[in-house]
Symmetry: C2
Subunit: 240 residues, 2 copies
DNA sequence: TTAGCGCCAATGGTACTACGAATTGATCCG
DNA sequence: CGGATCAATTCGTAGTACCATTGGCGCTAA
């Protein structure tokens, strides 16, 4: 366990998920290039596991679109275009590997696309207490942000956006919570954040929260779009 | 094989993917409710397969977040919130089951979020021939649309949006091509499409294409947003 | 009543076997 | 000499039997 995993992942059965992790990283990082052919026997020997475990691993890898196993040929590493890039594990692996900043950019663009609509949907669908909680989170963020407490600020930021996505009532949006959390964390660890959150960001978080609380969907959407506009500038310097 | 599968899915090994399909559908459709506990032995008996195959199936199901297997307990069906709703198979199953229209709505909202940004990105990043091809597709769509040839129109529509997403240069967007294709197909089969595509949609497709061709990102984005605004009205009657 | 111990069922993991399919190469015929 | 057919090899697929591990549940004793 060098860098952990998104959640605890698989509770008990650590064996098969270990080798899954190993091979997954290798493929995603490009160590195992597209077209490379693995053999099942090779997998079990390198990982020191039995045939059954190796097969289970390959099956999961196959369901992620990372490999494709053909009889008499072997286990063929598939091109990036057939990967399930939305799979949490795949995202995790890519963020751990070389293409980290590229991945962060893709994910940030996805955020920019989704979150404004999520905010609008939340304004329409969120429960009263969720809407109130959003406002409280925004004010807390201002407090910790102005105090320069980046750690607490980050956690609140994550909670804010997570709650926004989950309370949108759209499960596809809600499924992106982990992604957003990873992006936010990755952004700070990569040093893409100013030491103090800019005042404008603090204002916009509150603006979004208040718009959602007042069920003004259109306002929430535009405010969120502005908010993410700054994020774009930080992560994607050269326009789109 | 009652209704097929997104692609050919798994080429040769049909056995494990058959039982995967069966159980997956049952969970997604709610036949196997959240918290329901399966036992591995039960799985192999019901499907009439060996332990090995049953285990592989469970592993894949687990990687999709549909189940979680714990020792001494069994295979526990997980709540919807932990499903990988972006997994192509999960999407497929949901569209085949009862929650079909809910799923279509979620996916349509996702389209509304993503495609405008994808159009903008395509305007910046697409190759010259891709941009040209988009224009030609839009004009073809007009021809077949006005002639009332829905079949051909649908295929062109799919190709148009697919090309838009792939040429955006963002792999997360590109990964949504199958989703968009499914939504478009599902929309027509559900009878949510007018018999003749409305003239405005035809205009907007051309507008988007020309904006992308001329590399006017902002125009492409707004035109695409308008285009999808109509789609929203068709699928999501009651404002978001 | 409750705290702690221990049983055992159910999954996790391994090894071995048989089978089928696809590729490759060798043979045979034109 | 070239092309086509057929067989052997090789690898994934499927099945079975077996041991290891663990954690929930019941039993017992204080």
């Amino acid at each position: 366990m060098s860098s952990g995993s998104p959640k605890d992942e698989v509770s008990s059965g650590a064996l098969h998920s270990t080798v899954l992790d190993t091979i997954g990283r290798q493929i995603v990082s490009g160590t195992l290039a597209e077209g490379h052919v693995l053999r099942l026997e090779q997998v079990q020997q390198q990982a020191g596991v039995s045939r059954t475990v190796a097969r289970e691993t390959v099956r999961v890898l196959e369901s992620m679109g990372l490999v494709r196993s053909r009889r008499r040929v072997g286990i063929i590493v598939q091109p990036r275009s057939s990967w399930n890039v939305f799979d949490p594990l795949v995202i995790w692996w890519r963020l751990a590997g070389p293409g980290r900043d590229i991945q962060l950019r893709s994910l940030t663009e996805l955020r920019i696309a989704v979150e404004p609509l999520a905010a609008a949907a939340a304004a329409s669908n969120a429960s009263a207490q969720d809407r109130e909680r959003l406002v409280r989170l925004a004010t807390s963020m201002r407090g910790h942000g102005e105090a320069g407490e980046l750690e607490e600020f980050l956690e609140l930021d994550i909670e804010f956006h997570t709650l926004m996505l989950t309370s949108s009532g759209n499960e596809m949006f809600a499924a992106l919570t982990d992604v957003v959390a990873v992006v936010l964390r990755g952004r700070t660890t990569l040093g893409l954040m100013p030491r103090h959150p800019v005042a404008e960001a603090l204002d916009l978080h509150e603006e979004v929260a208040h718009a959602v609380a007042a069920r003004r969907a259109a306002d929430a959407e535009t405010a969120m779009r502005e908010l993410l506009g700054e994020v774009r500038d930080a992560v994607v310097p050269h326009g789109v």
